[in-house]
């Protein structure tokens, strides 16, 4: 972070005022500023001393004549800082991406069970769907349509839900002291095979 990010505007304004004074600041001007900004008395006095020394014997026509068209290491580093800061500023301004709607979120356990029955699945498998633990790109369009029909929500809502990052429900219980991280997503087939479904249920879901 640059010092200019933290320096009060009133202090930088007063410094600019000193810098714009004729050839060098004097006691009268400095005292006037100190009376106006007593909270910056020490900083302004220190700056005025440095400015007086810096301006000593110098004309106002300072040299800013580049003598090369080559980019030096110092300029390259400064450009890198510019781009990094630009990225940070843009990121800070970008609207926070809203998490897609979870169509399962408001469903009580009874409704989740009913959905499981209609899908010819079981509750553990439905929990995986709810918590986005199954990779969306391993799901057939038939499977997604079936979920859409059972949930009675638009297809894009279902796709956006499955495509989003896995989530850990706030009310989830776990035994360890630290909250567990959400693991990477499973393929649909692995989720079907690993949810305690019967062979018949597995076959039905895999054929959707």
């Amino acid at each position: 972070m640059s010092y200019t990010d933290v320096e009060p505007t009133s202090l930088s304004d007063a410094k600019y005022h000193l810098a714009l004074s004729q050839s060098s600041p004097d006691a009268e001007l400095l005292d006037k500023l100190v009376r106006r900004f007593p909270e910056h008395a020490a900083a302004l006095t220190e700056f005025a001393i440095a400015l007086a020394l810096d301006s000593f014997g110098q004309s106002n026509d300072d040299t800013f004549a580049a003598t090369s068209t080559e980019t030096s290491a110092a300029v390259a580093k400064a450009m890198s800082r510019f781009h990094n800061r630009l990225y940070a500023e843009r990121k800070a301004l970008a609207p926070v991406a809203e998490s897609p709607i979870n169509p399962f979120a408001s469903m009580p356990r009874s409704e989740l069970r009913a959905f499981a029955r209609n899908m010819k699945a079981n509750l553990p498998f439905v929990m995986k769907l709810r918590d986005r633990q199954i990779s969306e790109d391993t799901m057939s369009m038939g499977f997604k349509r079936r979920v859409t029909e059972e949930l009675k929500v638009p297809l894009d809502v279902v796709i956006a839900h499955f495509a989003a990052q896995p989530e850990m429900r706030a009310d989830a219980r776990f035994k360890s002291q630290d909250k567990p991280e959400v693991s990477t997503k499973q393929s649909l087939e692995d989720a079907i095979r690993g949810s305690g479904l019967t062979a018949e249920q597995q076959e039905f879901l895999l054929k959707l």
């Binding site: 005025a48 000593f56 110098q58 580093k77």
Partner: protein
């Protein structure tokens, strides 16, 4: 036409560009991108097409407002090269970390463009658009002071005991503190400035306060700011510091005679 500046001077007026800068900025804003880049790259200050640094600041800020990264990436290095040239002469190579101080100044300056319009001081670059040299001088002084405090440990030659006696600044030296520099005195002033900068901090502070800013050493008026009240020491201490500085600067007097 260039957008008016929003920052205000302490007297309440809005910052304004000097007429020559305003005219040059208006002119370049009418030109196509290729011409602008060609003109920005001109280094000869005597060329009628040379763009003052204030204009470059305006063009870069314009590109920043339009999120035109390509133009910013072309123009900022041109301005930074000018600044780098200034820093080579104004940040003494005698400082042990001169290179890193110059890099820090360029880095912080470039960040001002990225952060333009945001934060607690969103119009800070208005100062650069109106008075580039003064604005860059302020930035440079601040960063040099900060960096010096972090790293520079001065070693000063102790003075003989008799230097504790009160010695006055010689008139030959004193006259240079108050004269307006002309061509003839410029070189002497440059040397004197170098000699002043080489003084120990407390002596340097006393000399600048009393002989450049023209504060009294002390006063019977308790409300009056003096060198003694500013440094939070007695008037006698200030006089001692001035005496020691006078002894140290006596070699300078010999050089100019």
């Amino acid at each position: 036409m260039a957008l008016p500046l929003k920052k205000r001077y302490l007297d309440g007026r809005n910052y304004f560009r000097p007429p020559a800068i305003e005219a040059a900025t208006d002119e370049v804003l009418e030109q196509d991108g290729e011409t602008v880049i060609r003109r920005a790259a001109i280094q000869e200050r005597t060329s009628p097409e040379y763009l003052p640094s204030e204009c470059l600041v305006h063009l870069i800020r314009n590109a920043r407002r339009l999120d035109d990264e390509a133009t910013m990436s072309l123009l900022i290095p041109i301005l930074l090269r000018r600044c780098e040239s200034n820093l080579r002469s104004r940040v003494s190579s005698e400082l042990p970390n001169a290179e890193s101080i110059r890099e820090e100044i360029l880095g912080q300056f470039s960040e001002l463009f990225a952060a333009d319009g945001a934060g607690a001081n969103p119009h800070q670059l208005d100062f650069f658009e109106a008075h580039f040299n003064k604005a860059f001088q302020t930035l440079r002084i601040d960063i040099v002071r900060r960096e010096e405090r972090k790293t520079v440990k001065h070693k000063y030659v102790p003075l003989p005991d008799e230097s504790q006696d009160e010695s006055d600044f010689d008139e030959t030296v004193l006259k240079y503190f108050t004269v307006e520099p002309d061509q003839e005195s410029k070189l002497v002033l440059k040397q004197l400035g170098k000699a002043l900068n080489a003084l120990p901090p407390d002596e340097k502070e006393a000399v600048v306060l009393c002989h450049i800013l023209e504060y009294d050493v002390e006063s019977e008026d308790p409300e009056k700011r003096t060198a003694a009240t500013i440094c939070k020491v007695t008037g006698r201490t200030i006089r001692n510091r001035l005496s020691r500085a006078a002894v140290r600067l006596s070699s300078f007097k010999e050089r100019i005679q």
